[in-house]
Each structure stands twice: as C-alpha cells, then as structure tokens.
Amino acid sequence: MQEDFHYYATYCAAFLAGYTPEESREIAYSAQLVDCCSKTFIRKYKGPVTAATTQLQTELADTHTNIPGIQDITRIWASFHFLPGNLYAVLKRRPRVYMDKYRLICDVNGPLVRDTVILANKGGTEACGIAMHILADTWAHRYFAGTPSFVINDAREFFELRETENGIERIKVRFNHNPISPDSLEKNKFTNCLKQDGELSTMNLGHGRAGHLPDYSCMVYEFQPAWGDYMIILKDNPSDYYRAFCQMVYAMGFLRGEFTEFETDRYDEEKVQPYRDEIMSILKKRQLIANEDWKSFGERLTGTALEDFDLQKYGGEYMASAREEKEHTFLGRFFTAAIAQKSMVTNKIYSSGNRIAGFSVEQDPGGLKGMAKFGMTAYGQGRGGAS
C-alpha cells in the first residue's frame, strides 16, 4: 500500500474507531513511517538500526544475498510488509527448503495478525500505527512473501479486469522495466522488476514482479503466482482495501479497550457503513494515488485540518533528548515498538522450525532475552543487538 492508505486512510479509520484527531494523526504518522524508517533514516538520528522497518533500494543493493543477508532482508520484510499467513502450512511432496519459503507467503487473518495487534496493545499510538500498517499490508500484499525467492514471488499472465460499458473487459497488463517512466493507467503501462531466475536475487523480493499493481486501490486483476501451480488468483483491490479499512477500525477499537478480545476475520462495518459509498468511490477511482481524496474525506470527517506527512517531524525531538530520555520520545517509542514487532515475528518463524529469518535470541538460554534488554542493545552499541 501507499501513503494514501497508510497515512490518510489510517487517520480516518482511527477517528472512526474513536481516537481523537490528535491521536489519529500520531497513529497515521506511525503507520506511514513504517515505509520510511530505513537504516539510513535511523542512522541520521543515531538511533538503533535494528529498528529498521524497511530497506531503501541502495540498502538492498548493498545487502549481500548470503545467509545473514537473506535473514536480515526477511526479518524486515516479513515482519512489517508481508506478514506470513500460515507458518505451519502443509503441502505434499515438497522439500523442506521449498516449504521454508512457502510458509512465509503473506495472507490475511493469519495467527500473526492477531499476535501483532495484541502486541501493539502494550504500546501507545506508535505501536498502534505500526500494527495498522502491517494489518493493511496483509490485504494489499497477500500472495507474496517477504523473502527473496524466484519460485515463490515470480508471477505471470497479468490481466486487468476493467468495468466498461460493455461489461467486464479482460485486458492484458504489459510491463516494462524502465523505472524512469511512470505507470500510466490510461495507457495500461506499468513497471515491474526484471525477471531474474536467480533464486535469491532481490528482484524476487515481495511483489516486485507485480510492479505496483497491489498498491493501486482501483485495480482489479488476475495473475498466476509462481507458488500456485498454475492457479489463477483474482485480486480485487477495492474490495480488499475496504475490508482492510473495516478491520483497522475494529482492531483500533480493540486497542482502545472497546473489546476484550481481538479476533481475526472480524470487521467493524457498522461504524464504517455510513461512509461506505464515499470510501468505495475513492477506492474505485482510477488514479495512481488517492492522497487528495482521502485527505479531503479525513478533514471533513474530523472537522480539523490534516497536515501532509513530514518525515522529519519528530527527528528534532529525538536528537535533542538526553540519552536516558530518548526511549520516551515519539521516535524512541516507535523504535521500541518496531523492535518488539520484529522480535516477535522472528521468534514465531524460528519456533515453527524455519531458520530463514534467522536465530531468535529469545530461544537462546544464555544470551539476551529477546528485546527486553533493548536499552542495552540499542544504546550500548549504537548498532543494536541481535534481532
């Protein structure tokens, strides 16, 4: 998903869930920050690099695709953008090396979604924002895995299903690999990653082979994923995004204390129903990004102005704080929540018998107990400890 949903739509969902406009802004900011908090960003403010929730292109280019490099990539992308749907999936006659990757395929309403939201309950608005980003991304990025793998993340035979006067038209999607030329919905021109049959090539990370199609809320399309054994997947983004929105409202209702339990596959449609038509019209509108529409909706909903996302907004506060106080700043709390999320997901993947995300320190009897000693790892070394 893009800024339109992670920032503006999350703001709207937070307000509908019952948060104040100010709290909603913080949640939305955190949700969008997950897409920007790279090691480069963190190093600028001398924060703990283990809190990185994304990787820039240049960082990926520098990451070695040896075992530690793959583990580092997987920890970040599987924890924040491609939350695995079923770590214990079973397929017949598949070797272990294949299943380790297959089990990382992102899907909605998996046990990890529940774990993510419950974990966020221990934090504030920052943790809530991170959880909402992850939850929303499970809807957009489902069917792709947060680890480089040609046999899982490759995809082919993309067809857009477009509503026309003559009914639903099936139009072949044509990709080019020129990152300079922007995507064009009118000309049906999109960019995707080059096909690389190297199994561990970073071109085969996530939904690179599908380009930005999963992130455009208006797109309805079908494709054949590499793992699907010639199955055709229908991806209805407007419908999925609407359900993501309703689920966010429900999840934030839980985080506010409205519900005692969080259940997956539950959506607070009652609160969203009065605005359904307007939301669906935003989602279905053929445009590459819907910032303006969501912003306008959010401002009318809350009755207050919503500033655009500013990446540097809380950097000054973090830099100016004393070392002992950094944890209590906005960025400090965000970093803490991000590390907790990454640790939880890595731990779960490790517990399932899969080493692809690395070694979980929580399992190590002699070493650090997970991220409980975050303070020591983050500030003692400046680069963060094991994660």
Binding site: G69, H177, G208, D229
Partner: protein, 177 residues
C-alpha cells in the same frame, strides 16, 4: 553481490590471466586449459540449473524453462567435452562462437542497463563489443594459426580483466516496492 561471489569472480579472473598469456605464448597447451575452463563453466552452470529445477523450480508455475535452460547448457558443455578428440580447428571455432555469442549477450545487457540508467552501461556495452570484436576477428584469421591464437588470447585476457573489475563493482538494480 555477496563477498563469496566477489571472491569467486576475482579468483577466476586471476586464473584466466595466465591462461590468456599461455594461449598467446604456447597455443597448444593454452588451448587445452581454456577448453577445460569452458567445459567446467558450461557443465557447472548446467548442473546448477538442473539441481535447482529438481529441488525447487519443478514446483513453480512455468518452472520447466529452468529445466530446458539446464539441458541446453548441458548439451553445450558435453559438446565442448567431446572437442578434445577432434581437430583443434573445430574446438577453436566452438570457443570463438561462444565468445562472440557471449559478447552479443553482454552488448544487449549493456543496452538494457543504459535504459535503466545504470552507471555501468558504457563499460558493459564496451566489454560486450570487445568480446564480439575479438570473436568475429578470429574468423578472419582462421588460416593463420599464430594470429588466431594471438587474437583469441587477447580475448581471454579481456574477459579476465572484466571479471576482476566486476569483483570490485557495486551492483545496480531496479527494485519496485
């Protein structure tokens, strides 16, 4: 690119330098070693692909292309293995063909890099053009074994220098989030 891979490129480049020189100074011996290197490279690539297919790619939609790719390179490697028993002229032609084809592929990849505005497209296109030039030049000197081995030896040295430079180069990529 991982450190291991960079080390591999560096070492193979280092090995190819004396081979190229040997080819120029002692063509008969140099021919045997260059042919061996070619066989190992082709068969290694083929076996790598076949193992990958049977372990992982056979479960992939469209994975059969990996099998065919492996089989084609296996065919090429086996043919190169058989060249030791035939007159050297045929072996030379085969190696010249591989060099020229490889140069053409590098040229096309360099053009692709130019479209992607990679910083290395000029180098890549130049290297591909160089290989193609050496390969095609050899066809003009088929009658003169001395000049033929000299030109081909220079081609091998060109490849060696390229491999060593790749080991120190930053990898460009297109990535869509």
């Amino acid at each position: 690119m991982s450190k291991t891979r960079r080390a591999f490129y560096f070492l193979t480049g280092l090995i190819m330098v004396p081979l190229g020189i040997l080819f120029i100074l002692e063509p008969a011996e140099g021919y045997e070693y260059v042919l061996l290197l070619l066989v190992l490279a082709l068969l290694g690539y083929a076996v790598n692909h076949l193992i990958y297919y049977f372990l992982l790619a056979r479960f992939k939609t469209g994975g059969i292309e990996v099998l065919f790719k492996g089989l084609i390179f296996l065919d090429a490697g086996l043919f190169a293995l058989d060249l030791n028993d035939v007159p050297k002229a045929y072996g030379m032609l085969y190696m010249i063909g591989i060099m020229s084809l490889s140069g053409l592929i590098d040229l096309l990849q360099g053009n692709q890099a130019r479209i992607l505005q990679s910083g290395h497209w000029k180098y890549q296109m130049g290297y591909g053009a160089g290989k193609l030039f050496f390969g095609l030049s050899c066809l003009f000197f088929l009658d003169s074994a001395r000049i033929l081995t000299l030109v081909f030896g220079l081609g091998v040295l060109n490849m060696a220098v390229n491999r060593i430079s790749i080991a120190f180069r930053k990898t460009d990529m297109v990535y869509v989030k």
